[in-house]
Amino acid sequence: MAEQLQRHTFVVYVEDKPGVLNRVASLFRRRGFNIESLAVGHTETPGASRMTIVVLTDAGGARRLEANLYKLVNVLRVQDVTEVPAIFRELAMIKVATTRETRTDVMQLVDVFRARAVDVAPESVVIETTGTEDKIDGLLEVLRPYGLLEVVRTGRVAMVRGPRGVVVDPADLPARGPRGAAAPEDPEVSHSV
């Protein structure tokens, strides 16, 4: 396989059911793909969750991954948005060590990067920023000399530009929703083994 490795971004709609994240993650591991980032959340459609998954692979690997994702019964829709016009964003919170002397410098960098300080303490500042990974990497690089105390990043989320997007039709979702664990009490029923 002489094909070129590239970061592929998949938008994956899944049924909002227990264990689905496990199924998706297990598939990547089993087929030898390494997830670089994965972000999950609710969507415009009740009952459907949306994952944004970034994987380093070649074009053939990306196609096989898409086909394999579709083999999971709970996967509703898969789109590789790597080659389509799309907006990629990540959110990061960065806790930087500051002193009376350095705080102004740090705040200036925050302004330059259009980030926000969301917590200021005598010895630290928490900075929130959204942007591409490159932008966040850049901000981290300039903050590093001051002392990075803690960094958290959400991983990439993606949205296709223009009116058409990656969506699922709510009518496609099964009527039978996820059921709570609470079963009606029945004296005949034993919960022990």
């Binding site: 496990n22 089993r30 096989r64 996967v75 509703l76 034993s190 919960h191 022990s192 083994v193």
Partner: protein, 573 residues
């Protein structure tokens, strides 16, 4: 008229409504409510001796009949014992549904007695699985599970049902309507462009070859494959699991491809200008080194599972869909052709090697596995269902038993599961009670699951068992001979007296170590009312030829040492 049923009753009621008549299982604590309800339903339950056997039986049942096989076990060890059987079925796309009991929903996650996260354990080896903890979900889940198992690429579905869901009651509302699975697409269709490109490649090819896999049987596309082959004069090579998908004695049949395929088959693949891969997945046992595989050939791949395309071998055209229907649509676009030059060239590749004709060999007094298998083929008229284990005997079976009928060879191909044969044969016999069923197993694999002889006795099933007993784990020994300087580490194998063992189980046992006794022995077994186990004491260090070493180029095979099909020693005169 809705009426109250317990979850346990619903399990069986749903299975009956789905057409299930036979299940293979083993009771235990967490599945006890279901077993209590079983007595009231018209289902034949086969008590196995190990839950692995239950899954192999369900698998054998499915392979013999095309119907979904069903296995049942309790939680914890019962369920984990099923893992090997589920994985075996998965690698060979055999449709089975496994129902396991689970501890009560309130104690899940507390490491309760016999609790195992079975849906977690089986996640990578099932097509789909369910944890059912509410009685109202039992019926729809079983309906869905059987649908998923049998549709699309056939698969394995495990349903883990908590004990409280079995005990609770609900109104059974059976809704046998269409299953609504928005993310499930078993009915893919290839585009018109893809059909045209495939047809152009076929019509333009001078040296085409059909590679027929298990998909031919699973899709029931035997007639379509034959029509295509005959119309365009395309020779057919088969994978191990494709055997039976095209008549063995058809003039266009080349035989089995791959690691132990005949030399001319692999040579034809290497020289072909077009490979038409039908329901097969270019397994490494079939391709050898993929870098040098079929270097001159364009490739057309038809499979129901698009994730198989370009997985192991890059293809030029891929058509997704059910094979029979794809071939129905493709056939009108394929033009007739005589391809005489190509067929002649393949005949020349075959040369003098008349390996298929071993019945005329002089009787040397030595007993070879090939003799045994070839004699079973002749005496059964090629009409038996042969269930093999894994190893040398499996390859000899593929070489010396000629299968004209689909679903007449049942064997663990993808996973290569030793111990498969005996339980799978029980499943096959129950699926097709009128079929003559033979187990062909080695002395090693047979001992892995031989406890199921008791199941045969208890169920009063008629199966004949041919143990190809060479005192070694033969295939591993062969690899040690070729690749590890004959250092036979842990391959010499002491076995019990299998004939006596059979008697202990109430069956008939025979031991045969001379060639002249093979025919009478096989005839005796066939005529016997009950099951017969024959211990064939064959040549100990016999070798399966030809052989493509793992990862080697397909055309660089280890050939038979002489033109004789079977190694005969000097004192044979």
């Amino acid at each position: 008229m809705a009426s109250m049923r317990t979850g346990a009753q619903i399990i069986w009621e749903a299975l009956v409504r789905e057409g299930v008549t036979t299940v293979f299982g083993y009771p235990g604590g967490a599945i006890l409510p279901a077993y209590d309800a079983l007595l009231d339903y018209p289902i034949r339950h086969v008590l196995v001796r190990h839950e692995q056997g239950a899954t192999h039986m369900a698998d054998g049942y499915a392979r013999a009949s095309g119907q979904v096989g069903v296995a049942v076990a309790t939680s914890g060890p019962g369920a984990t014992n099923m893992v090997t059987g589920i994985a075996t079925a998965m690698l060979d796309s055999s449709p089975i549904v496994c129902i396991t009991g689970q501890v009560g929903s309130r104690v899940i996650g507390t490491d309760a007695f016999q609790e195992t996260d079975v849906t977690g354990v089986t996640l990578p080896i099932t097509k789909h699985n369910y944890l059912v903890s509410h009685v109202d979900d039992v019926a729809p889940t079983i309906h869905e599970a059987l649908y998923i198992a049998r549709s699309g690429r056939p698969g394995q579905v495990l349903i883990d049902i908590t004990k409280d869901a079995q005990q609770a009651s609900t109104e059974l509302q059976w809704d046998p309507g269409d299953v609504k699975l928005p993310g499930y697409r078993p009915d893919l269709r290839a585009s018109d462009t893809e059909y045209s490109r495939a047809a152009d490649l076929i019509n333009g090819s001078k040296r085409p070859l059909i590679l027929a896999g298990h998909g031919v049987l699973l899709s029931g596309a035997m007639a379509q494959v034959r029509e295509l082959a005959e119309r365009a004069n395309i020779p057919v090579a088969m994978t191990l699991l494709g055997i039976g998908g095209f008549p063995a004695l058809h003039p266009l049949n080349l035989g089995m491809m791959g690691m132990h395929g005949e030399a001319w088959v692999n040579q034809a693949i290497q020289e072909a200008d077009l490979l038409l891969a039908l329901g097969m997945r270019f397994d490494d046992r079939v391709t050898g080194n993929t870098k040098t595989y079929a270097p001159n050939a364009r490739k057309v791949h038809i499979d129901i599972d698009p994730s198989e395309f370009n997985k192991n071998v890059k293809v030029d055209v891929a058509l997704a869909g059910d094979l029979a229907s794809v071939l129905d649509d493709l056939a009108p676009r394929v033009t007739a052709g005589d391809r005489k030059g190509w067929l002649d060239a393949i005949r020349d590749m075959k040369g003098e090697v008349a390996v298929r004709d071993i019945q005329n060999l002089p009787d040397s007094g030595h007993l070879y596995a090939a003799h045994v298998i070839n004699d079973i083929w002749r005496l059964t008229g090629g009409k038996a269902v042969i269930v093999t284990d894994v190893g040398q005997h499996q390859m000899w079976e593929a070489q010396y038993y000629h299968h004209d009928e689909p679903r007449s060879l049942i064997t663990s191909g993808g996973l290569g599961t030793m111990g498969f044969a005996l339980p799978a044969a029980i499943g096959a016999k129950l699926a097709r009670p009128d079929a003559e069923v033979w187990v062909v197993a080695g002395d090693g694999g047979f001992q892995m699951t031989m406890a199921e002889l008791a199941t045969i006795a208890q169920e009063k099933i008629k199966i004949n068992v041919a143990i190809i007993n060479n005192g070694y784990l033969g295939m591993v020994r062969q690899w040690q001979e070729f690749f590890y300087e004959r250092r036979y580490a842990a391959t010499p194998l002491l076995s019990p007296d299998f004939a006596k063992l059979a008697e202990c189980f109430g069956l008939t046992g025979l031991r045969i170590d001379r060639r002249q006794d093979v025919v009478p022995g096989v005839e005796k077994a066939r005529a016997a009312e009950g099951s017969v186990v024959i211990d064939f004491r064959v040549e100990q260090e016999d070798t399966v030829y030809p052989m493509v070493p793992a990862g080697a180029d397909l055309h660089k095979m280890i050939r038979r040492p002489s033109s004789a099909p079977i190694v005969e020693t000097a004192d044979d005169e």
